[in-house]
Symmetry: C2
Subunit: 164 residues, 2 copies
DNA sequence: CTGTATCCTTAAAGATACTG
DNA sequence: CAGTATCTTTAAGGATACAG
């Protein structure tokens, strides 16, 4: 009996991303690194995560090139790499969703730039600034699409045409 | 011995969000709903998820107000609610990260608006259009901040001042 | 302070078979 | 087609204690 379906096997970038950062703790650790907590103890205390879990996650994140160790081996500092910092929009988007739908007394944290200007709600846009929403979005097969992906998209398009 | 630390207990909107959609499968199911797969069988086949898992996830998503059932009880259709559709930016941000860092032969899927205009890379911005990155971001306590959250932020700020 | 070593518990995940 | 019931396996997650 196979353990857990490896999401990385799916022909989907979301699945690839989730295969790497899609567990319960990883994005919270990344969050702490963004905020500036880069000591083992700081992160552990901040999240209340088990020390063993934290150690294993940090190692995974390093293996995946999302963070790197600096400082001394005895007292390391963890810093995000470019790949890790690139998670910023995804992380903020999730945080904003939580602010909107699961923060009864208002956001626990406010995000600003260094001049104190608040972050606006994140939107998906075209290059010329038109907003793409879930309602007007279209998905098409890309260069990396497997045959199964193409078939999936085609089948749905056909169904929707019929439904109309 | 407690089972798993409930992320919802943390005073952090990211944690709240992850507590609801932070497992391996949920966002992939939501993705399918965005694409237009709203039958049980379509989703199951598309993801290769176990039927029991899918059933339990769909029920959770309904309980959390992210999707709703339509159609007949015998042959339901699943649709995202406003709360669910609001996950769009987060989902796309993660997908784009996967495109950039885990798609060797190019993106499996392309996202466009209904006129075929491609989605630009998502960025975090202020209201007046300045880009906020992980490097120039600042986090401050918000209205919903618990004492512990304030302390955490203050402590880090102090450390960084000293380090400078 | 930063881990590792162990041990333990439980929930996550899946296969199979059955029902309306 | 859309599930539910049941069972099995294993990995996830955590507590505790110890080490450099």
């Amino acid at each position: 009996m196979p353990p857990r379906t490896r999401l990385g096997a799916l022909n989907c970038s979301l699945a690839q991303a989730l295969d790497i950062v899609g567990d319960w703790w990883t994005l919270l650790i990344v969050r702490d690194l963004f905020i500036g907590a880069n000591r083992f103890g700081e992160i552990q205390k901040s999240l209340g995560i088990a020390r063993t879990m934290l150690a294993s996650r940090l190692e995974q994140l390093e293996r995946n090139g999302i963070l790197e160790r600096r400082g001394t081996p005895r007292r390391p500092l963890y810093f995000l790499t470019k790949k890790g910092r690139d998670l910023f929009p995804a992380l903020v988007a999730l945080m904003q969703w939580g602010d909107r739908w699961a923060a009864p007394v208002g956001p626990p944290m406010r995000l600003t730039d260094r001049n104190g200007r608040a972050a606006a709600p994140i939107a998906v846009q075209t290059r010329d600034g038109a907003t793409i929403t879930g309602e007007n979005a279209r998905f098409a097969a890309g260069p990396g699409a497997a045959a199964s992906t193409r078939a999936f998209i085609e089948a749905l398009a056909a169904t929707r045409r019929r439904a109309r």
